[in-house]
Symmetry: C2
Amino acid sequence: MNLSLMQVYASLKPELQSIENAMTRAVSSDLPLLSETSQHLLKAGGKRIRPVFVLLAGKFGNYSLEALEKVAVSLELIHMATLVHDDVIDDADTRRGQPTVKSKWDNRMAMYTGDYIYAKALTVITELANPRMHQILSHAMVQMCIGEMEQIRDFFNVEQNVRRYLLRIRRKTALLIAISCQLGAIAAEAEPAVDAALYRFGYNVGMVFQITDDLLDLCGTEKQIGKPPGNDLRQGNITLPVLYALEDDSVRESLLSEITAIRDSNGQADSTKAVQLVRSSKGIAAAERMADRYLAKALRALEGLPDIPVKKNLAEIAHFVAHRSY
Amino acid sequence: MNLSLMQVYASLKPELQSIENAMTRAVSSDLPLLSETSQHLLKAGGKRIRPVFVLLAGKFGNYSLEALEKVAVSLELIHMATLVHDDVIDDADTRRGQPTVKSKWDNRMAMYTGDYIYAKALTVITELANPRMHQILSHAMVQMCIGEMEQIRDFFNVEQNVRRYLLRIRRKTALLIAISCQLGAIAAEAEPAVDAALYRFGYNVGMVFQITDDLLDLCGTEKQIGKPPGNDLRQGNITLPVLYALEDDSVRESLLSEITAIRDSNGQADSTKAVQLVRSSKGIAAAERMADRYLAKALRALEGLPDIPVKKNLAEIAHFVAHRSY
């Protein structure tokens, strides 16, 4: 994390701590097993980028930690719930042979844990008596589900075009970041033009975030990304650098056969060669250029906003998101 | 269906048709695969008991089909989403051997279909600008998730007591029926005392509904219930008649060993003997008595309500729920 970003986090420390505590309270339940799973997730932490955006967006209106905290907790819980559901069936797959009753239960439990966290997120945001916020959130949830399903539908689809990829990550990732900014502004009763500009900012930062994530999965070291590179490819998730690499004649044929091998092995084949091919192709630079275009759009969305100090912070975070290495 | 109940459904036919159409519209999406799954579910139909309760409850206030329809669609979609999630991991279990990528996708797709239907349900109810309704719904969703998890936790737990069973079905089933009545009344701007009485009515009918369902799973014929009896036992779901049967010394020991055999066979063992033991025990009559107690409570909840014709309809439905054979 660079220095200016650390300063942003440091300046929000008490608020972020308060949000963390509220999240812990939100997922406590009288079912010990459930509390355990949820708390485990919470402790795993994360960049809490959505809460940061909620808080910063709130500075463009009448900053009220009470309201912003509810928005932040709700959105971060929704993000957590999607992570839980992403993992549900993967887990089963790592258990070879016939699924045992126990593994079946574990998976179901994980699914219901996700459902529970979603529902808790709703109870938190509905404490704010603003139906428009509830509408925005539920519409975003619909789109996020569609994005997840599109991702599955497009697994190993090497014929998909860039537009399809962009639409998918828009739903899967960018929208929740967009509404973090938007709902933060609405909770602080900012001007409608401010909500809209912050939404555009968040949306474009969200696109940068996902494209950078997809680049890191191919170019990062195991230490940086916490898992061996090429994880997306092993799952069948064809990301932007891969799509652009497939347009590069110097690697296209070899890359196609590597991807086919991974697909035919149920994701068990080694993805090292495929990763190397993408790295050596024009795909990396092309995806980086696309990320930079979204970064520029994000920065442009900030232009019309009032010149308060937090505006600089938002720009710094956007730069960090684009150039981070983890 | 008995004659008076058929008359209730007949009198609501245009409204129920309109709700059916609205549900179809709600789950249509630009993702063909998703629309297909959802439409398939819709066509499978059901008793639409929640929409019926919403509509009837609405008669105690300023009946507005527009508002009631949104409540009904939302609650029935939530019910459908829980059915989808109930089936998710079961499906994987029927595929022997190593899970294929395809089956993994199918399960994930089913999970996301459920998530999508939940989210759609939220978009429909949030069109009504009444935050209290959103709060009631989200709190109920939390409890329903806990109920589902309690059911999994208590699979094959022959030591659980009756109170634990009742708490579980309260969350899993009764609450959604309770809020169908309550939200119908709120959408029609009925008096708070009316909301509360209808909530109590719905809650008690919901308890009757689930106990009767659990009795049918043991006492019904395959034709009546659409699957071989004893399905709950094969899943490990220990229901009220079984709990009471376990208190009957004439069958306790044999029943315990049958249940253990089912558990140890991963649910593959035959449940015919266990079903016969429960049927021959005092468990059936005891569970029927409990259902009758909840029926009496449901009817009592109606007493304070204004004497409009629909009150008689609610009583008829309660009787039907208690004595139905499918």
